[in-house]
């Protein structure tokens, strides 16, 4: 087992990172972007753990494993917060694909850019 070659995991991690990167820039929908960031994170974890599994020794390196464990928990926290933020964006701007030229409207004023019936008054 210590002689197993895990190089292919490194390449898969790089692929996941690149895929997430591409989707993050190309996809306009906020939820897809959040998933893209998660996929980029998974790519990084793949590289980390593959390196840990390749270290010389009877057991794989526990430090990358601990860091990836931390990373997963932090990832889900960030995702949870990002989803709530996306929800707020949709509430403030009426749509979930902000686009490049969308301004963040003052929620108290009907936004002229979206042209939809203004439906929000923010709570405290």
């Amino acid at each position: 087992m210590p002689d197993a070659d895990h190089r292919i995991y490194l390449l898969a991690g790089a692929a996941l990172f690149a895929i997430g990167f591409y989707s993050l820039l190309v996809q306009p929908h906020l939820l897809r972007r959040i998933m893209a960031v998660n996929v980029m994170g998974s790519g990084v974890f793949l590289v980390y753990l593959a390196l840990g599994a390749q270290t010389a020794g009877v057991i794989p390196d526990p430090v990358p494993q601990a860091m990836v464990l931390t990373g997963i928990v932090v990832s889900v926290c960030a995702t949870g917060l990002a989803l709530v933020l996306a929800d707020r964006v949709q509430a403030a701007m009426g749509k979930v694909e902000p686009g490049d030229d969308a301004e963040v409207a003052d929620p108290a004023v009907p936004s002229p850019a979206s042209g939809e019936p203004h439906q929000e008054t923010p709570s405290a």
Binding site: I8, A12, T55, D61, V76, T79, L83, D87
Partner: protein
């Protein structure tokens, strides 16, 4: 040899699934593929001999994240139907192509970088194992998390608290509408599964000292239990006890910080356990962290400040505009 074949089957599927989960036309299907991707990644972690990570990925990375995104999706779709929303339709072809080229270049650079890494890195295995007997636990990952790099774990528990504070500041969470009267099977499931989940969480906590497991995996199980409670419509009483809830949420950081202070007084080193008692201190920290992690993860699913028990329909209609 067989395992190499397994790698060559598993990883292209992971990569293809990652692509489909981000670029599928139907968003619901994309999220489902994302959840499946998480499960396949858990298999990959097992293959890379990281069972602790596999447990956390399956429970948190795939299960809870998928549940969070799904519930956000449903919420957004429901709101989109109330108002017409214009899809911007994505960006035009030229930019798509140039970003694609940039991504391919990034991929090539990353491949070159990872292939250039040493094939047998020395890593920190030796160093971790050298002092393992003094660390208080026998699972090296737990030793790294709560002894060698305990400070990072303190910050991680802090990040959990920050996330829930952020979520609570931004939004009111509405409990899922659940009518159990026509779903007796769900109630039976909950009756069986919830005690098992709580027991399994405690088991994970205890076994983390000498086998794969630990406070985070156990906390993930507790969070799952809380989500199940919410989906079954039984969470109202749990979620309305606001003071107890807040106490539980800060318990992890609080106890961890207290242990830091006490060890500073006892040994003069921040988080330096007095020799021989490391195991006990770690168990204290992990027990408090278990509760906090479980509550935080479950409440992240709620997606906001609990409405505080003033009655059902009024809260629900007002929280949708909140």
């Amino acid at each position: 040899m067989i395992l190499q074949i397994f790698d060559w089957v598993l990883l292209p599927v992971i990569v293809a699934l990652a692509w489909r989960s981000l670029n599928d036309r139907d968003l619901f299907r994309a999220v489902i593929k994302f959840i499946a991707l998480g499960l396949l990644l858990a298999v990959a972690w097992v293959r890379l001999r990281a069972p602790d990570v596999a447990l956390a990925e399956a429970a948190v990375g795939s299960g809870l994240t998928g549940a969070l995104i799904l519930s956000a999706l449903v919420r957004m779709r429901r709101r989109e139907q109330a108002a017409t929303s214009e899809a911007t339709g994505g960006i035009e072809v030229m930019r798509r192509v140039s970003i694609g080229i940039l991504s391919l270049a990034l991929f090539a650079a990353l491949c070159w970088a990872v292939v250039a890494l040493p094939a047998r890195p020395t890593g920190l295995t030796e160093a971790s194992l050298a002092r393992l007997s003094e660390s208080g636990v026998t699972n090296p990952v737990t030793a790294v998390l709560l002894n060698y790099r305990g400070y990072d774990t303190l910050l991680e528990v802090g990040v959990l608290l920050l996330a829930i504070i952020g979520v609570w500041s931004l939004r009111r969470g509405e409990l899922p509408a659940a009518d159990l009267s026509d779903r007796p099977l769900l109630l039976s499931l909950l009756r069986v599964v919830l005690p098992v989940l709580v027991l399994a969480a405690g088991y994970m906590l205890w076994i983390g000292a000498f086998a794969p497991g630990g406070a985070f995996q156990g906390g993930a199980l507790l969070g799952g239990a809380l989500v199940l409670l919410m989906l079954g419509g039984l969470a109202r009483r749990v979620v309305n006890r606001s003071r107890l809830l807040r106490a539980g949420l800060v318990l992890g950081v609080l106890v961890f910080a207290m242990v830091c202070a006490i060890t500073l007084l006892l040994t003069g080193g921040f988080l330096q356990y007095p020799s021989g008692s490391g195991g006990a201190w770690i168990m204290v920290i992990e027990s408090a962290a278990l509760i906090s992690i479980g509550l935080t993860l479950g409440l992240l699913y709620l997606g906001g400040r609990p409405t505080g028990g003033q009655g059902d329909s009024a809260d629900r209609s007002s929280s949708d505009h909140a």
